[in-house]
């Protein structure tokens, strides 16, 4: 980033320049969208935003509801749960209880962004700035997306998945396919590799390899089960202790796909599809605050830059600011509208404050962020965007000022106590603790129970044992039995789940039968 770059929105910048605004009305046309996109792209280039090419698709409200219900996938396989999503979206929309999102953006190359035709022109500009330059550059720059997803392959893969599922439906019946998919969905959140990078998905290779894989998989599975139990070996206490898998496995779907004894090949293939999709969405689940914060920061910054250049009118800015304010509104904890921390607010606040820390640092900032205070803000923000996920991002960049502005406080709820306790607030002694607690809140492995494959009784009843390691004594929820039924459907033999805390069995679930008592 060189100093030659025109530093926009700098203090005391010149105010609206004399240039002609792109438009004055609020009706959009394709030509105007193109012009706005061009101008926004110029502004984005000033700030060094690096993006995939954009594909802007103008759609109707009904189409937006369709897009909604397939969790933002441009093509999806058929499943009742998407129908359920669609029904609830369309009901909410028709009753006017909820507006549709202004946009949906897909992590693909080119980056596909949907614009609703109902939007006014300023809204379309906001959406373009937000999605086509904000989210888009995040997808391209953030390490999680770079490592875990392959933007150029996803759309083709989705088409492959859709075709494969419908082929299965034709061959094996809708019900049989639905059952497998239901069970996979139940385990979807536990169907991701958290630490190792998977091979990028590619539709073409998928289709090519599929046949090979069919044979190979079955052979592999057979190998595992071919081992004939030898009694004398069983007597050996050392050998008997050896588990399969030797190390616990975090990816339940992967383990089942590769090892379930009775599954047919097409069923394994369906598991694989759901697993791949889970993996594709995994980075999004870990970067919600950052991603939305980044996109919001950039629509705000880019459109203000447009205003400085005299490209948009005061009326445009008023409408834009009204929408922006609504997006970043954070209801307080005691408001009837409160439903947790608004990721747009939190992310936007952190990024905007980061810029402030770079440009006009206070003594507090110098103490808290010695490496950042006073540096080039564009560079620092890009660094923050590229190298973190929500948890580490908050841990790294949540400043005391943001904590004060949002008036954050932490509440402890312990079932051994008969009252709640306020453990930290937005004050000097509380900052660090508060920041740590908030960061932890965004740690997926803290938000979701830690459940891994522990053992398969290879020599016995072939039962699968999962192990849950509770954090802070938090037990499993009431869906557990139900999810276990799904696991059992996939595994084909008994499934056990044990909650084990520091070596002690606290709780156990079984489907369908508890294991025989050991003498």
């Amino acid at each position: 980033m060189s100093d030659a770059i025109d530093r926009p929105n700098a203090l005391g910048s010149e105010g609206p320049a004399a240039r002609e605004p792109v438009s004055t009305g609020s009706e959009w046309t394709f030509e105007l969208i193109r012009q706005y996109d061009e101008e926004i792209a110029k502004c984005a280039a000033e700030f060094g935003l690096d993006t995939y090419p954009n594909q802007v698709e103008v759609i109707s409200a009904e189409q937006m509801m369709d897009a909604y219900s397939s969790v933002g996938m441009p093509v999806g396989y058929n499943h009742w749960s998407f129908g359920k999503q669609f029904l609830s979206t369309s009901k909410g929309y028709q009753r006017g209880q909820m507006g549709l999102a202004y946009e949906i953006v897909i992590n693909s190359d080119p980056c596909i962004a949907y614009l609703m035709e109902e939007n006014t022109l300023p809204m379309q500009a906001l959406v373009i700035a937000h999605a086509c330059y904000g989210h888009n550059s995040f997808f391209k720059g953030n390490y999680l997306f770079r490592t875990w997803t392959d933007a150029s392959a996803i759309v083709d893969y989705l088409v492959f998945a859709r075709n494969y599922v419908s082929e299965c439906e034709e061959r094996h019946g809708v019900d049989a396919v639905e059952q497998i998919l239901d069970s996979c969905h139940a385990l979807m959140n536990h169907g991701v590799d958290r630490y190792k990078r998977p091979a990028p998905i590619s539709a073409e290779k998928e289709a090519l390899r599929q046949e090979e894989r069919e044979e190979y998989l079955q052979r592999r599975v057979n190998d595992l089960w071919r081992t004939i139990p030898k009694m004398d070996e069983d007597e050996d206490p050392v050998k008997r202790k050896k588990r399969y898998p030797e190390e616990p496995q975090e990816n339940l779907l992967y383990f089942i796909e590769k090892n379930a004894p009775l599954l047919e090949t097409w069923q394994r293939e369906l598991i694989r599809i759901v697993r791949k999709l889970a993996q594709y969405f995994y980075p999004q689940r870990q970067t919600q605050v950052m991603n939305e914060g980044w996109a919001t920061f950039w629509h705000y910054t880019l459109l203000n830059r447009m205003y400085e250049k005299g490209l948009v009118t005061d009326g445009f800015m008023l409408e834009f600011l009204q929408s922006h304010t609504a997006v970043v509104y954070q209801p307080p904890f005691n408001s009837p509208w409160y439903s947790g921390i608004n990721p747009y607010t939190l992310g936007f606040s952190i990024f905007i404050d980061l810029r402030r820390i770079c440009e006009t640092p206070t003594d507090e900032d110098r103490e808290w962020f010695p490496d950042i205070a006073g540096t080039d803000w564009v560079e620092s923000l890009h660094f923050a965007m590229a190298n973190f996920k929500d948890e580490s991002f908050i841990q790294q960049f949540l400043s005391p000022k943001v904590m004060r502005d949002l008036k954050l406080f932490a509440i402890e709820d312990d079932d051994l106590e008969d009252s709640y306790k306020v453990t930290a607030i937005h004050d000097e002694p509380g900052y660090r603790e508060l920041r740590e607690k908030l960061a932890r809140q965004y740690n997926l492995s803290y938000r979701e129970p830690n459940i891994q494959v522990w053992n398969v009784d290879v020599r016995g009843d072939r039962s699968l044992t999962l192990r849950h390691v509770p954090v802070d004594r938090v037990p499993l929820g009431e869906d557990t039995e139900e999810v276990l039924r799904h696991a059992h459907r996939l595994w084909g033999f008994d499934v056990h789940l044990e909650s084990v805390e520091e070596g002690t069995l606290i709780d156990d679930y079984h489907c369908p039968h508890p294991p025989p008592l050991k003498s």
Partner: protein, 431 residues
């Protein structure tokens, strides 16, 4: 820059979710059927023009995942602190409901709901209803098709299928065209032929220099050319063809009156009446599709009959004995005074648990065969009882023998058995 590609997708299909929606309805058909069944109970039998709101308990359609339960030790960060300071203690609400997690299972529209509510269309509503009644597909289709059409002649067109070719009109057109195209030439031919005849009959000049031969040759050539031209005019051309055109027209509106007769004596429970309601509803649906205007007359009876409104018909209770003939008499009287069979198609549906005073049943048989059946299109009777047939049934069996075309009866225990009563009716209309 310049890398943006803008696409207008608005004209692409919008019903991408139709299949998924259908999958959802299919999966929860039992819930929806029950809701439809409740709706039938609630609705008037003439109220079939709309869909229905369905709600399903949220926990029945939950997609389970592993998640944290209540309890343990947890901490949550919240915004908007007012006057808390570190170390403050706040009482827990009664009932041990924990603070819960910020997002949890919040529904997308932000309301915490116990019920998942959505709308089904009228068509879907009828489908579920028909499932309940086990209607055959052909009949379903007939009931749902919005209107039946007649084709009426409406002039001619230049395009159509060979079967609709109007030969006379086409030939007439061809003739006119031939006249139009050939008339002037033929006239010319006649003139030239006259000239030629003149020349040929004229005395030949002795002087070869004044011979008519050249002139004759010219005339003959010209005539031959013109004749060839005329010959080239086709006898019939594509533009001559005329096809008869037909327009779809809704079937002429006619009127029907539907009599609903029901025993409301003490032995008829609400369950009986709900079954009867479906029976009436089915007849109504059938009539609705075949007639533009339908009057519905409700007659209830115990020992005496009375014409009532629908509400009273289905939902008020009476006690006492049963004289079925009173209802038939009243029906006959109403036909006499208001529904002349010359103008009205008359249908009747009677529901009862079969009870009747024994010496009344022959009276009923006589009334039906002598005064009522000659006037009506169809009379359907259901005996709603799982027990043995009653006296009235045997009497009606004889009626059925005499009027197999316009009388049907059936003993039923649940709604799925209703359809056979109507089978003949639907079959006949299908022809």
């Amino acid at each position: 820059m310049g890398m943006t590609h803008i696409v207008d997708r608005r004209l692409n299909g919008k019903n991408k979710s139709a299949v998924n929606r259908e999958r959802f309805l299919r999966r929860y058909r039992h819930h929806i059927k029950k809701a439809v069944s409740d709706a039938v109970h609630r609705r008037s039998i003439t109220d079939i023009e709309r869909g229905e709101n369905i709600s399903i308990p949220t926990r029945d359609i939950d997609e389970p995942v592993f998640h944290h339960g209540q309890g343990g030790h947890r901490e949550m960060v919240h915004p908007g602190n007012q006057d808390f300071v570190a170390g403050d203690r706040l009482p827990k609400p009664e009932g041990g409901e924990g603070q819960g997690q910020g997002q949890g299972q919040a529904s997308p529209d932000g309301e915490g709901m116990d019920e998942f509510a959505f709308q089904i269309t009228q068509e879907e509503f009828l489908n579920f209803l028909f499932d309940d009644l086990e209607l055959p597909n052909l009949v379903r289709k007939k009931l749902k098709d919005t209107e039946t059409f007649n084709y009426v002649r409406s002039g001619f067109s230049t395009q159509g299928v060979p079967a609709k070719l109007d030969v006379i009109r086409s030939l007439r057109g061809a003739h006119a065209r031939r006249l139009g195209l050939g008339g002037a030439r033929k006239k010319k031919i006649r003139e030239l032929e006259a000239q030629l005849a003149d020349l040929l009959t004229a005395p030949a000049d002795l002087d070869a220099a004044f011979s008519h031969e050249d002139q004759i040759k010219v005339l003959e050539d010209e005539i031959a050319r013109l004749k060839a031209n005329v010959k080239r005019i086709p006898f019939i051309d594509e533009i001559d063809l005329r096809y008869r055109q037909h327009l779809k027209q809704p079937k002429p509106a006619t009127s029907a009156v539907m009599f609903c007769l029901m025993d409301v004596s003490g032995s008829m429970t609400q369950m009986h009446k709900d079954t009867a309601k479906r029976f009436f509803l089915l007849l109504y649906l059938f009539l609705k599709k075949n007639y533009k205007r339908i009057d519905v007359v409700f007659i209830r009876h115990h020992t005496s009959a009375k014409e009532v409104d629908e509400e009273e018909f289905f939902y008020s209770r009476e006690t006492g004995g049963t004289i079925v003939s009173s209802a038939l008499k009243l029906m006959h009287k109403i036909i006499d005074s208001r529904y002349s069979p010359a103008e009205w198609n008359i249908y009747a549906a009677q529901a009862s648990d079969g009870d009747n005073w024994n010496d009344d049943s022959p009276v009923c048989g006589k009334l039906l065969t002598e005064s009522i059946l000659p006037l009506v299109q169809y009379f359907a009777y259901v005996e709603i009882t799982p027990q043995d047939h009653q006296m009235l049934w045997y009497e009606y069996e004889q009626v059925q023998e005499r009027f197999p075309e316009s009388f049907a009866q059936q003993q039923i225990a649940d709604p799925s058995e209703i359809y056979p009563v109507f089978r003949r009716l639907f079959e006949r209309k299908a022809a």
